[in-house]
């Protein structure tokens, strides 16, 4: 039965995993994602799931075990954060190259150093080139919903790539929110069975997974994964549409909040979008045409759709919760500007915010909208600035 409840983002992710009932979970504890495998192991102990839970000795091993399980032909999931994800990086590339639809519940946390346990996006941004689909969630409901969609997106025969569903550490993972948990049977029906075409435990077909690839094959394999990632766009769109039909909550590649006649907009991912919506509402009440674009799908990157949504703006702020150290702007800033290039003549300002869990407040967003008005009026702004840094 569908129920209204209140729970943290980690509990919501664990509820999704309980309903998915994956065949294998291999995970290693790391703050702030630790609770996810902890709840799942309780479900296992209570007989609510029949998942094989593998308590591994590291995140490298967690992803390796998922790769083995997925190659064997079953659904495999894991959860991690920060340095744990970094320890997985090597195997994330292998999972993607082997085209295994593993689902990773990621709880974004600053990547050490300096050592810090709070939210920023440096961990998943470090994995952005690994070949995983990446979805970002604003709150517990979205983390839950995105996880319910993740298996079907990843397992689409035209995709077959691992997927990462991100939520912000502590802000979302430990904050208690109202949430709708859907009916178990309905979720089970929505997700369906996983039947891979080729798998190691098939007794009638022998198979080698992850063989050495000599140079005459590597470019062809990357080209095929590139196509799979392009195909993921349609899979995300289709599964999201089906999700809306079944459960009533709609998800696009990004959410447009009060964008219909917006002149100034902020583009941001995950929990900060909720704060920014309040700023947009206050500015709208004051007669300022402010809007928000919340990017849900970072990989594949919806460049054309973003350019369409953003064209006509007088100015746009692009918000990164990590610094790529290019010296020319953080990752989201660079990709959004590339998407706009030649398609939409929009003035942009890049901002880096919230590193190591630093709060970003409604007033910060209002200040940013103020700067966007200055930018539109012809004031020069640097390519990228830190929000709240002590000068």
């Amino acid at each position: 039965m569908t129920r209204k409840d209140r729970m943290s983002g980690n509990q919501a992710a664990a509820e999704a995993i309980r309903q998915i009932n994956p065949d294998v979970i291999a995970a290693f504890p790391i703050t702030p994602s630790t609770e996810i495998p902890q709840y799942v192991s309780s479900f296992k102990a209570d007989g609510l799931i029949d998942t094989e839970f593998i308590a591994v000795e590291s995140e490298h091993s967690a992803m390796s075990a998922c790769i083995g399980a997925s190659a064997a032909g079953v659904r495999a999931m894991t959860a991690t954060s920060s340095a744990g994800m970094a320890l997985m990086y090597e195997m994330l590339y292998v999972a993607a190259s082997d085209r295994l639809p593993i689902v990773l519940a990621a709880v974004n946390r600053a990547l050490t150093g300096p050592i810090n346990i709070n939210a920023d996006h440096s961990d998943s941004m470090g994995a952005r080139d690994a070949g995983l689909i990446q979805l970002y969630s604003e709150n517990a409901q979205e983390a839950y919903d995105n996880l319910l969609m993740a298996n079907r997106i990843a397992e689409n025969p035209d995709v077959m790539l691992p997927i990462m569903v991100c939520q912000d550490g502590f802000i979302t993972s430990h904050g208690i929110e109202n949430i709708i948990i859907e009916d178990d049977a309905k979720v089970k029906d929505f997700i369906g069975e996983y039947r891979p075409e080729k798998y190691l435990l098939n007794p009638s077909e022998s198979l080698a997974v992850g063989p050495y690839s000599v140079s005459p094959y590597v470019i062809e394999m990357k080209r095929a994964a590139h196509e799979a990632m392009k195909n993921a766009r349609q899979a995300v769109a289709d599964v999201s549409a089906d999700f809306a039909r079944v459960f009533g909550r709609e998800y696009g590649f990004f959410e447009e909040y009060r964008m219909d006649d917006a002149e100034y907009a902020v583009l941001v991912m995950s929990s900060a979008a909720g704060t920014c919506k309040d700023a947009v509402d206050e500015l709208r009440a004051a007669g300022i045409k402010a809007g928000l674009v919340k990017l849900r799908m970072f990989r594949p990157f919806p460049a054309d759709e973003l350019a369409d949504a953003l064209k006509g703006l007088k100015a746009l702020a692009i918000m990164d919760r990590s610094d790529g150290f290019s010296g020319t702007g953080a990752p989201l800033n660079a990709e959004v500007r590339a998407a706009l290039y030649g398609k939409a003549d929009v003035k942009t300002a890049g901002y880096i915010y919230g590193l190591g869990g630093r709060d970003i407040k409604v007033d910060d967003f209002k200040d940013i909208f103020g700067e966007l008005a200055d930018l539109a009026a012809g004031k020069e702004l640097p390519y990228c600035r830190y929000i709240g840094v002590r000068e």
Binding site: D98, R99, L207, P211, E220, M221
Partner: protein
């Protein structure tokens, strides 16, 4: 080696990317037989049947299964896969295997190693 179907037949270094298996999966087993690695060799064993007593100490130590045995007797090397490691020559108690430089056996112009 029993006859079996090569499920990777048709996929080679000229194949377009759409024809490569997803993830580079290799279908079927024992496919290394179809992949000629003998040209990696820089020195070559020469089997001298007149010295060979068929003791069969050589074939189990060959890392590339390149010494074919049939009805209890070894035959000449499988030069499609032999890498010239010379372990066989080392274990041979009867001096029945020489090692010559190059990828070809002595009769084909190889030099004494």
């Amino acid at each position: 080696m029993s006859e079996k179907e090569n499920l990777m037949k048709g996929i080679d270094e000229r194949s377009p990317w759409r024809d490569i298996t997803a993830g580079g999966f290799v279908y079927g087993s024992g496919n290394s037989e179809y992949f000629n690695t003998g040209d990696w060799r820089t020195r070559t064993p020469v089997w001298k049947p007149e010295h060979c007593r068929q003791c069969l100490l050589c074939f189990p130590v060959c890392p590339d299964s390149s010494i074919p045995v049939s009805e209890g007797k070894r035959g000449d090397f499988d030069f499609g896969h032999c890498k010239g490691c010379a372990i066989c020559a080392k274990v041979c108690p009867f001096g029945a295997i020489d090692i010559v430089a190059g990828t070809e056996s002595a009769e084909k112009g190889g030099e004494e190693a």
